[in-house]
Symmetry: C2
Subunit: 543 residues, 2 copies
């Protein structure tokens, strides 16, 4: 029996994917199977501890673990999965430095691609709401928080300062609650380092669609959690949800508007594109599998697990998308793949869960373990012990324990670790009545109206004069860039407006390199200037 090793391909590097590869390394020899894992990042994120990155309780890189060290015999490819062809058994991988796609054939496939945040149908959310799933999200949030505090410290207008110090989290599940709790802790700790913010209040708001937070837990514990959060100053809005957002505010279903510069959303979830376009039996978009976690119609070849699969236990219970379940699913899948490769007994998935744990910030948590409810400091120690124990590898365990110890001795980190400035062509959403820019502002970009209408208003000697109304496909803001002056009109949205924003740097590069582009704006500027001078020196549209 001298055959080539079977090619096992694992898609996704979350709990489900990484643990499947780890178990497979134990169950199969190198001569029996080659294991390849595809993931966008070269690390695995320990999701339960991700919120601790916000307050710096855990160092940035200690909340993740390099997949190469977790699965030392697995061939890791740090790319994106672009397509899965179940018929020909080929997976297409995105290009790297070289602009060529990679095609990978498999004998056995594990689909564990998780889910993504999807703001479809919620105007302005893509542009303004920050997701919270990956290490990159957590770092971006931390940097944004520090930016906001730095700006608030300089800001002299009390209303704007209040807006800068308002933080909104959408979604009251585990993730949302842990994020708002950590965020609130962090603000309390670092505000004392800002000379003008020491005695300034901040506002942390969590918005939950149901009538209580933590729907995953028994009601008594959720009520306890709400009491603790409120005692620590967090506002809880129930029976409402995020509907839209602009750069200045969060807008709720009920019509409530919250002025803020920070909006984090842990909901809603959707399936990755590559799963959506997969033509196979599904349930509510998720891949339908049997109790051996095999994809329907592809038994023995394809397994699906984790958040992208619709799984039922042998007892018929619907399996929730949690880490403890994903780890058990990985065991089941790995045993069944090993059986398919080299024969042996197959198993079915029967894990019914051990309990649930949720942190409420420093020194408080809620837990239900094997039916017993625990809350407060004890639950918090339990939370820390369980998750530290579950973190694979001595290296990370020691590093996290050290971080926790140092965190008790010293204040949290305060350095902003931004890598590069924003660039490229961005989109932005405005609600009716919003000011897009103000007369007297510095001109830092050009705007193109995608949909909606704006009015151009000029303020002179305290009086407002309506100069024009602009609609789809029209531009504004170019005059200040062409002449390097400040805006000399205010632009206000008359309806809901979506714009493309071209930054000054990109605008100038395009003007230089694409003559047609330069001409459009030169001509427009000339027309607007002419219109201005012909109408009693009215500076028409010199925005």
């Amino acid at each position: 029996m001298n055959t080539d090793p079977k090619r096992v391909l694992v898609l996704g590097g979350g709990f489900a994917g990484v643990y499947t590869a780890r178990y497979l390394e134990k169950l199969l020899w190198a001569e029996q199977a080659s294991i390849t894992l595809i993931n966008r990042e070269n690390y695995w994120v320990y999701q339960p501890m991700l919120p601790e990155v916000i307050s710096g309780s855990i160092g940035l890189t200690n909340v993740v673990s390099p997949i190469r060290r977790l699965c030392s015999r697995t061939n890791l490819i740090m790319r994106e999965v672009e397509n899965i062809d179940l018929k020909t058994q080929v997976v297409t991988i995105s290009p790297g430095f070289r602009p060529r796609q990679l095609l990978l054939e498999y004998d056995h496939l594990v689909i564990a691609l998780g889910n993504i945040t999807n703001f479809h149908g919620m105007p302005g959310m893509i542009e303004n709401a920050m997701p919270f799933r990956t290490l990159a999200d957590a770092m971006a949030l931390r940097n944004h928080l520090i930016q906001v505090l730095e700006e608030a410290d300089v800001e002299e207008n009390p209303e704007l300062r209040r807006q800068l110090l308002t933080f909104v989290v959408g979604g009251g599940g585990f993730s949302g609650v842990e994020v708002i709790a950590e965020l609130n802790d962090f603000l309390h700790l670092v505000k004392r380092n800002y000379l003008h913010l020491r005695n300034e209040p901040h506002r942390c708001v969590i918005v939950q669609a149901g009538d209580r937070v933590l729907p995953e837990m028994p009601e008594a514990l959720a009520i306890f959690a709400q009491r603790i959060l409120r005692k620590r100053g967090v506002e809880i809005i129930l029976n409402d949800r995020l509907k839209a957002a602009t750069s200045e505010k969060a807008i709720l279903q009920s019509g409530t508007e919250i002025l803020c510069k920070t909006l984090i959303s842990t909901v809603p979830s959707a399936l990755p594109q590559v799963i959506q376009k997969l033509d196979c039996p599904k349930e509510r978009g998720k891949l339908l599998v049997n109790t051996s976690l095999e994809l329907k119609d592809y038994e023995g070849t394809v397994w699906a697990l984790g958040d992208c699969a619709s799984i039922k236990t042998v007892a018929g219970t619907k399996v929730p998308p949690t880490a403890q379940h994903a780890i058990r699913e990985a065991t089941t899948a790995a045993i069944n793949i090993a059986a398919a490769v080299r024969g042996g007994e197959r198993v079915e998935f029967g894990f019914e869960g051990l309990g649930t744990l949720g942190s409420l910030g420093h020194g408080a948590a809620v837990a239900q373990i094997c039916g017993v409810k625990v809350s407060g400091l004890l639950a918090w120690f339990l939370w820390r012990s369980v998750y530290l124990m579950k973190m694979p590898g001595l290296n990370r365990k020691v590093r996290i324990a050290t971080d926790w110890l140092l965190r008790l001795l010293f204040p949290p980190e305060l350095a902003q670790t931004k890598v590069a400035g924003e660039s490229g062509i961005r989109n932005q959403h405005f609600e009716p009545g919003d000011i897009i820019f103000q007369q007297g502002d510095l001109g830092d970009s050009v705007y193109v109206i995608e949909d909606g209408e704006c009015e151009v208003v000029c303020e002179r000697k305290g009086e407002q004069e309506l100069l024009a109304t602009l609609g789809h496909g029209e531009y504004f803001g170019e005059m200040a860039l062409l002449s390097d002056k400040t805006r000399n009109a205010t632009i206000r949205a008359c309806s809901a407006v979506n714009v493309s924003i071209i930054s000054k740097a990109d605008f100038n590069k395009l003007r230089r390199s694409v003559p047609a582009f330069a001409e459009v704006f030169a001509e427009l500027a000339k027309r607007r200037a002419d219109a201005g001078s012909s109408q009693s020196s009215r500076p028409y549209l010199r925005a």
Copy 2:
């Protein structure tokens, strides 16, 4: 005597700026002076340890210290300095969230803006060489190194793998030597985690203009350093310097070309724009000060120190741009400012330096302290002790010592901490003969020729056919984007070529929102397609 506190403004948050603010907080009461410090970041970088971030010997945020904690009574403004008006005593600060500049008046000004990396006159360096000055630079380099290793692990072409595993550092001063040493250590340690790189050699090259590295040190120590580096596998190229770069290679003055995907440059330095445009006495661009560190013609009002000032000691020695000197300059400036504010004795700068220290990677260093030369392991311990001692604050000392300890027990970090993908309109430089893109590549961007000429070559049945030559202002690459196919011609540079590159995402956004832009490319595509079909179905320029 009931007067308003004097407004002391410190520009720059390096050693010179931060230490001046720290001393001023000790020398002056809040009623005597308000201290404001302007810096681009909210942290101060401990430059001597920055290279240790590469190998992860020190955690990302432990090599920096929040300025708010170092100078607790100083008002920090995290913005850029845009202009200094010495006549009216007003400093202009860049806008934040709100697009308005900030104007700050001062009674006493400290200019300590350091210097910047400047690649002027070196084609392709801005686009391809990575500087190494800030925490952001260090993080970007670390992420790039991991990306390169991940790509090399997947790459099957041995030449391309060799290119991915070649690392070039320009500049053989302290900074360059420490960077190449750390980089080399890091590669040796992490390569074992890459299944296909374990037995693959890598190449670390350092290029120095003089006839030895470390010109700051005595020759004997520099020779020792060279021996150690070479023993550890580093190639040292002397009497040569970087001249140009493309995305594929580094080009030296001598004509030597080194194929590589990683090019780090620690030279050359230039003064920040805001200093360059300052109209006052200078020496080789640096601000000319007297031995009390006062700016000529503005004695008693403006002080300049650190790397942007040209300083001589009372003994007439030219002061080198090192941390130990900057700290002593800060003391002198602070005492003299305090004297200007509340009277008292003034001092002159007379510090002649204590010695020099340079790390050569794990377990080796060179040092000259008070005339005594030390090298090897002893010097390395000395290096670590001196710099740990000099790090201000117990918090950082403990954290760095912990990092060093954990580093002895566990392998270095391997997680890539990139925050966002590249976007916006980039520039790129190509040398004659370079391939800009290859027939069959995926089309991921459109190119506009800024200067130079390119030829369009189509390969069919193994034969190359020249289709056209393109020059200044012409576009290519749009066909693959418009039709979502791969490139069906190769573009090669005939001369040195500079292009603007518009990414697919931005190209599509611009096409949608600026009709004139869309028309240019639609017409061009049509013309090229027509030309193709009229010439015996030759797919003219369908790149």
